[in-house]
Amino acid sequence: MFDNVWLIPLFPLIGFLINGLFGKAIKEEKVIGGIGALAVLCSFAVACMTLFNIISLPVHERVHNVPVFTWIKSGTFQADVAFLIDPLSCVMLMVVTGVGFLIHVYSIGYMHGEEGFYRFFAYLNLFTFSMLLLVMGNNLLLMFVGWEGVGLCSYLLIGYYFHKKSAGDAGKKAFVMNRVGDFGFLLGVFTLYWWLGQNHGIWTIQFTELAKHAELFQGCTLLTVITLVFFVGATGKSAQIPLYTWLPDAMEGPTPVSALIHAATMVTAGVYMIGRMNFLYIQAPTTMMVVALIGGATALFAATIGTAQNDIKRVLAYSTVSQLGYMFLAMGVGAFAAGIFHLMTHAFFKACLFLGSGAVIHSMHHALHHCHSHDDAQDMRNMGGLKSKMPLTYGTFLIATIAIAGIPGFAGFFSKDEILWQAFANPHHGSLNILLWAFGACAALLTAFYMFRLVFMTFHGECRITPKAKDHLHESPMVIVFPLIVLAFLSVVGGYIGMPKILGELLGGIPNYFEHFLAPVFEFSEEFTKAHAHVAGHHSVALEWGLMGLSVLIAFVGIGIAFVLYVKDTTIPAKFTSAFPALHRAVYNKWYIDELYDFLFVNPCKALGNFLWKGFDVVVVDGIVNGVGSIVMGFSGILRYIQSGYVFNYAFSMTLGAVVIVAFYIFR
């Protein structure tokens, strides 16, 4: 029934090989792009079939290992190239191939005329292949193969515009931080493998086997270490504190890359990994707490920075970091299904946002280029009033923004609200819950604010672009707009499959399909929580409603602030000036509310944001990363001098070595 799943990663691999080896010879952009997109479309088709097959099975027969061939086998150790098909990987498959396909289509238009067009599609297909390996691999090692592969592609694609120095630096930074993470991951694999084998004689790295023996980890003191090192891997890949600064820099890559790799898929790998190994995490309360705290802190922290950015892609980048923080928060409070759900909805609306911003940048770039202006095409201060020029882009962008802001009825609301509720009501962290919830809620407020600030600055108000360039602004071609529309549609309807319980009951017993679908994967964690929860989560329905209302209110407040600050000042004065001259002064001065807001909220917030960005981000985090590098390089330089080139020095080193070795054995 699942015999053909190996086709899913195979298609992008074929696409990669064709484009990578013959792309230069093919030259024709349509053919190259067509091959790239078609490969992913084929994968998507097979993935859909797989999903239907899974759904058609009874709930408890939905986990399948599909071996392809034995990869490494020696004695007790075995790692197969085998795929794990279960509800979780199905969800990820749909996201990777579905969103991936749309982004491939979009890229055909976006990358039109770029040098090395074939290279771009080859990398993109290689990325899809690696990502599919990551989500489908049925053991840690195969997952690691994908894990490394996606990192590599990300690195190559960030540095795609290698003529720019900043792009190369950004690629290097991403690489270094990812290596730190990968080191953690590999260490986790080794420790896990060794511990289980040493103590229980079960030498395995296969997920289903590990899950089967999950209860053996009970009371394993090393489990906290194991899960923490895995989490280090996740922080690197998924850009969490403290390894997040590469992601904003990664925006140097082409926008489709930002959408696919640095928003929708690769950066969520850490979340997926924790979800995949939920049965280990749930048994390590300390790790759970760390994950939740880091996630919550990142969500809030990145959101504050987002408010102070003027580069449209950087806002979205910090927003991504922040939303990833939500996902980790969900993982950390044991709401695995909610985290994965947010992963999915986020993929929809964030991909839409990135692609929309790409369309804007594309259009801006052409317009500026046309009149030889050197203004920054990504700076929102140069934009404004694009609503009329690019109505379709605006529409889709607005829908996605509403979705991320958490307005009821849109996808982001369902997933985010579920996470906030779980952060408040979960039985794992006791009194810490309030803090976690507060983190999330504050971040939600800021999210609504900066996203609408972005919309208002970009699409509303006066057009601040050089007048000459104004007429060259135009809507993007259909190949770019089509993916936007599909993604915007998904940003609306995507949420309804995961309706929160109380809302579903209100609407006549609509179940949370998503959670039910994923239930088999998280079964152990559910049971474990039920058995071990210190305080059973008896929270009243009223409280849940109240919090839901509160979070909606928060979202509207955020939007309101943005509206007042970035729209109102331009519209209100015009209406009132002539009619009420006395009032005019006050209105002209925006009721002095701006000043008040500036004083009370915006200035401190901006200052904090700026401080965190310029101070902490650039100086501290980068400083540490670069510092470690310099120390190692310095050490390397010193060691080099031992290599003096003189034979007698070398002979001396050998003699010394021999003498020390012999002396050590004699005198010990």
Binding site: R640, Y641, Q643, S644, G645, Y646, V647, F648, A651, T655
Partner: protein, 98 residues
């Protein structure tokens, strides 16, 4: 009796080693290496005599021939080096370093 031979050869070996470390002429250094090898030969012979086992002596034959072969190759290399550099001082053998 054995100890004395072993000690003598140990001393010879050490002198050879020291020579390699402190001499600067490549040929002299190689002579010191030869001294180390011959110290080993002495050890082999002494042990062979002590153990009443002929293997040690056979080993010495091989060591000697191998040392001769090494000497031939080494001298050839030194001549080639000398032709280019007009020196066989090991302080001059340092084009490549770091």
């Amino acid at each position: 009796m054995l100890e004395k031979y072993l000690i003598l050869s140990a001393i010879l070996f050490s002198i050879g080693t020291l020579g390699v470390l402190i001499r600067r002429n490549a040929i002299v250094i190689f002579m010191c290496v030869e001294m180390m090898l011959n110290a080993v030969n002495l050890t082999f012979i002494a042990l062979s005599k002590h153990l009443g086992n002929i293997d040690g002596q056979v080993f010495v034959f091989f060591v000697m021939t191998v040392a001769a072969a090494e000497a031939a190759v080494g001298l050839a290399l030194m001549i080639a080096f000398f032709k280019n550099r007009e020196s066989i001082d090991v302080e001059d053998i340092n084009v490549m370093k770091l």
